[in-house]
């Protein structure tokens, strides 16, 4: 085992370009499968949990008692639906919007450590592009979905879509700044902008070290993902389906999929930044000890997802002007307070 790692390391240092090409291709194939299947089961989890939270069964026929294959059935339905493009739409932009959304998701997936392997007392993060600035990069790439949403909304030539697109952008820009400041605060404490290192360096989870930043980041994350109480860009009762109103069949399915992909990736990001990443006691069973960080990571991510879905059934939707006000007038000053706190506490610990 050690020999293999040695060999890989030496190859990587000699031929970095080829090494990263191979890693990239393998990673892209594996991750696109993982992320897409992951998104399917995030959807399943959401449907099932929302059922529980409202005294309903949720999916319970297709794929056994838990309806595990319901989402596959839904996907098959989407594939067999007619693909119709509205006559008045701006066709190239309309067609490219779901593709851009998918590209944005994959860009995030490339830089996020999905977990780590524990081996010989060392953690090996499972990440394709282990960049020095991956925290900054991921935060930037997460907001790319909004660009896709804007493309979708503006090209549809539909009033609901138009409002949805503008709302989506407004929502994003109000929370981008506080979110960025939160990431900076974390980076200050971790002395690094690399996500794997941030996760690794958390002796005390940053959720406890900077609770204010944790709260702000959750709010900003929910906003970025466009979930209740911040789902104004597709508020069904106001603007039907927001920017996806004119999308149907597989095109709509793709956009929906990317949203849930991003939800998964966002939860992973939250776990990495604030919940200690894959940190957790190593299970002292020979086979399991290697993947025990992965197990911890998985459990934390599921808990975060559960929390996001719980929020959806518990809260009401805010009005869009209240959302932007909250972002600019409350969260931005608070995030700066948090930054100061991080500097003070960070200096103290250092």
């Amino acid at each position: 085992m050690d020999g293999i790692i040695e060999a890989i390391s030496s190859f990587a240092s000699q031929e970095p370009a080829i090494y990263y090409l191979i890693i990239g291709i393998i990673g892209a194939v594996v991750l696109s499968a993982v992320v897409n299947i992951g998104a399917m089961y995030v959807i399943w989890l959401e449907v099932k949990l929302l059922g529980d939270f409202s005294a309903r069964y949720g999916p319970n026929r297709v794929g056994g008692r838990w309806g595990l294959l319901q989402i596959v059935a839904d996907a098959i339905k989407l594939f067999t639906k007619e693909d119709s493009i509205p006559a008045s739409a701006d066709k190239p932009v309309y067609v490219w919007a779901p593709i851009v959304a998918s590209m944005a998701t994959m860009l995030v997936a490339a830089a996020i450590p999905f977990g780590a392997l524990y081996f010989n007392g060392k953690y090996y993060p499972l990440v394709v592009a282990n960049m020095d600035i991956s925290a900054f990069y991921v935060e930037a790439a997460l907001s790319l979905l909004v660009i896709a949403a804007f493309m979708a909304g503006y090209s549809s030539n539909n009033k609901y879509s138009l409002l949805g697109a503008f709302r989506g952008i407004a929502r994003m820009i109000s929370y981008e700044v506080p979110m960025g400041v939160c990431v900076i605060s974390v980076a200050i404490m971790a002395h690094s902008l690399n996500l794997a290192e941030i996760a690794q360096n958390q002796t005390l989870w940053y959720a406890f070290a900077q609770p204010l930043g944790f709260g702000i980041f959750i709010v900003a994350l929910i906003t970025d993902l466009g979930r209740i109480p911040f789902d104004q860009s597709e508020a069904e009762e106001e603007i039907i389906c927001g920017y996806t109103t004119e999308y149907g069949g597989i095109r709509w399915g793709l956009i929906l999929f990317q949203e849930y992909n991003n939800m998964l990736l966002g939860s992973i990001l939250l776990t990495l930044l604030f919940l200690g990443g894959w940190a957790g006691p190593i299970i002292p069973v020979p086979g399991l000890s290697i993947i025990s960080p992965l197990i911890w990571m998985f459990m934390k991510v599921v808990i975060v997802l559960w929390f996001l879905i719980w929020t959806r059934s518990a809260l009401l939707r805010l009005r869009i002007d209240q959302v932007t006000d909250l972002g600019w007038k409350v969260l931005l000053p608070l995030s700066i307070v948090n930054l100061a706190w991080a500097v003070v506490v960070g200096s103290y610990f250092a």
Binding site: S54, A55, R56, N60, W310, S313, A314
Partner: protein, 218 residues
């Protein structure tokens, strides 16, 4: 403070999740419990129906049509007809039940009536009747009717003899009686299906006993 205030909101979904499923019913497997007063699909007592068409007249949507039905009481009016209800239009207002002078039309607890064809939801007396004459009783009643008709014919014949002077009109009357006696048989189509119907008739009550859940009564 904002956080503390919101706690109740977060608590609601958890409380619901802890209560078990109440909103969804697993429909075909688990049927709803219906009260005794439920206004479901009609039940007709074919043995007491007098074929007065009160129900058809009161129906606001005119979904009740009177049709001839073989197992009706042959003792009564020979042009005996029974209600046939088009459930595509029925709105279950229950006015027909209230109007029925013989109290032979009731509304039961069965509420499922899906069908593949439009004709499937038009239910004739054959399907509506929960109580009807068995083939044997019907045969006996038919024999009774024949006997009465024969008696009447005999009486008429006697009358005719007695009043031989006014022969022509009386003869007409007797002919009429005889003709009506013949009409008393079910129409041709029904005759053709008689065999099937008898079988169905024999099986049907058993079927309903075996499957009480069908109408959601259990």
């Amino acid at each position: 403070m904002l956080k503390r205030k919101m706690l109740k909101n977060w608590g609601w979904p958890l409380r619901i999740a802890s209560r078990g499923t109440e909103v969804t019913r697993l429909y075909p497997e688990v049927m709803m419990e219906l009260p005794a007063a439920e206004r479901g699909i009609h039940e007709l007592d074919a043995t007491t129906c007098i074929g007065c068409a009160s129900c058809a007249r009161i129906c606001p949507n005119s979904c009740i049509e009177m049709v001839t039905y073989k197992y009706g009481s042959p003792l009564k009016n020979k042009k005996m007809q029974y209600p046939q209800i088009d459930y595509g239009r029925c709105m279950f207002c229950g006015l027909c039940v209230d109007e029925c002078p013989a109290e032979c039309l009731k509304m039961g607890k069965k509420v499922t009536m899906a069908g593949w064809e439009r004709e499937d939801i038009v239910r004739g007396p054959d399907k509506l009747a929960v109580k009807k004459f068995t083939a044997k009783e019907a045969a006996e009643l038919a024999a009774e009717a024949k006997r009465i008709a024969a008696e009447k014919a005999a009486a008429a014949a006697a009358k005719k003899k007695a009043a031989a002077k006014e022969g022509a009109p009386a003869e007409g009357a007797a002919k009429k009686v005889a003709k009506e006696g013949a009409e008393n048989k079910p129409p041709k189509k029904a005759v053709a299906k008689e065999g099937e119907n008898k079988e169905a008739n024999a099986q049907e009550p058993k079927k309903e006993d075996a499957k009480p859940t069908e109408g959601g009564a259990s």
